[in-house]
């Protein structure tokens, strides 16, 4: 079967404000199977968010090819959900209007869009908050709005950029379990960016480790833990510890490289 997402020899360069060229990603090869839940980990600044931007079509690659659902990416395609790293819910829309935006943009009648939005709002546990504006919600609640906003369109590809990093541990494992339940009821392929190795292993089927910037895929681990999983308990399994150890020895080197580099550029 053709992969749902594939990056082949992808390089991404940015122009810096001073006129130089900065290579964010270098020769990245990565494939995600249909229905697969993948995590991408790597030190800060290694190009994880950039990878998602390339898959979504928000940014074109400088070299190489990005394919989604068997077609080369040129601009934003349909069927993609994207939960951004920073808050991206619309501050002037209520929770209901925020969640109903996707269906409305796809031509659904107002009424139908609202009905579907209500359903999704209760699925992410926000029933009763339909008429609040984002500034009246907590950070975790805003993330739920973002999640419902992306999922309501029934995406076949779901891109998530550190969606739970701002949440406390309890809320976080709650939401992780919810995410797994929602995902297993769909047939979406997920790319989940995180810097938390435990989160990456407990959620996904496969973990990609990126090198310190310019990022390239250093290793690619299959996570053979059984499903359905309970993220709060799975980390106590012996197999989890084995995978963690392997991945961490890979990631640690890159984090150190990245840290040394930042220290040096900070001192310079």
């Amino acid at each position: 079967m053709a992969p749902a997402i594939s990056l082949r020899g992808v390089t991404k360069r940015f122009l810096t404000p001073s006129g130089g060229v900065y290579t964010a990603l270098h020769d990245v090869d990565l494939a995600v199977e249909p229905g697969e839940f993948c995590a991408v980990v790597g030190p800060t600044g290694c190009g994880k968010s950039t990878t998602l931007a390339l898959i979504s079509g928000l940014e074109p690659p400088s070299e190489g090819e990005v394919q989604v659902l068997g077609k080369p990416v040129s601009g934003i395609a349909d069927g993609i959900g994207y939960v951004f790293q920073s808050d991206a819910v619309f501050p002037w829309k209520t929770v209901l209007e925020n969640v109903a935006a996707g269906p409305r943009y796809h031509g659904a009648a107002n009424r139908e869009a609202r009905d579907r939005a209500r359903d999704w709002i209760s699925r992410v546990g926000l029933a009763g908050f339909e008429d609040r504006y984002p500034y009246q919600l907590s950070g975790g609640m805003r993330k739920r709005v973002a999640l419902a906003q992306s999922l309501i369109n029934g995406p076949r590809i779901l891109l998530m950029d550190e969606p739970f990093s701002a949440l406390d541990v309890q809320t976080r494992s709650l939401m992780e379990n919810e995410l797994l339940a929602l995902w297993s009821a769909s047939s979406a392929s997920v790319v989940f960016v995180t810097h938390d190795l435990e989160e990456a292993i407990s959620l996904s089927d496969r973990v990609f480790v990126l090198t310190a910037g310019p990022g390239t895929v250093k290793s690619n681990y299959k996570v053979d833990l059984p499903r359905p999983r309970n993220v709060a308990e799975i980390r106590f399994q012996p197999r989890f510890a084995e995978i963690y150890e392997e991945l961490w020895s890979d990631l640690r080197d890159e984090v150190l490289v990245s840290y040394e580099r930042q220290k040096r550029s900070g001192a310079a």
């Binding site: 928000l58 349909d78 994207y82 991206a88 619309f90 996707g102 943009y105 504006y133 500034y135 906003q149």
Partner: protein, 286 residues
Amino acid sequence: MSAVATAERPVSDLAARRARDARRRQLTVQGLRVLTAVVWLGSWELTTRLGWVDKFFFSQPSEIALRLWTWISEGTALGPLWYQVYVTMEETVLGFAVGSILGIAFGVTLGGNRLLSDVFSPYIKAANSIPRVVLGALFAISLGLDIRSKVATAAILVFFVVFFNAFQGVREVDRNLIANARILGADNRRLTTEIIIPSALSWIMASLHTSFGLALVGAVVGELFGATAGVGELIYSAEHLFDAAGVFAGILLLAAVALVAESLITALENRLIKWRPQVVVETKFG
């Protein structure tokens, strides 16, 4: 000891005390405001009565009040008072509307289009740098002495302020929100109406506060260049007669009009931008 008592008091009690404190503060502020007015007007009245300050140039509060009363009860030299206020308000509101609609339209268009904004920016900067009230003279010649020249003067003053704010507002739209809307499937029209304009609206609303005042300036200046009615004309003809009380009375009228308009705009803002945490308007100079 009092700390213990506070800790044990129920929440509703605490809320009641907060409300009482707020009320007391409110009373203090109002009282001091009245006191300021009394001191200011009293010393004005006193110094002019004692002849320390020349009443001929500076008039005096009692005389201004009397003049206002005469205008209200017997009408002005130009006709009934309400008509003068009406004429000036009509010019102001029309100028404000024309200026802000054009300002928003041009600001949003140019803000969203790199090529257009690059082409027009030197011209707009040049036009902005001339003192625009002098255009009132030009309009008086080209559009005649009827309402059109006043509306045009008011509109041109309003236009630039609103234009720059709308332009900047569009430029400052969060890239993330645009990306999110596009991923969710928004087309260009939806992007403009649902993301760009609402986002720019807080900038635009901020400019409307200042620009209503400017519209009033435009209308009054337009009247100075030639008119048969209006509060500006009223001030102008009083000045011709060296009637300081008439000038002050006219200024007072303008101030009252501006205050009413300001509160209307604040009400409109609170309706349009209810998604923002409510700003405390109390402590602001209104």
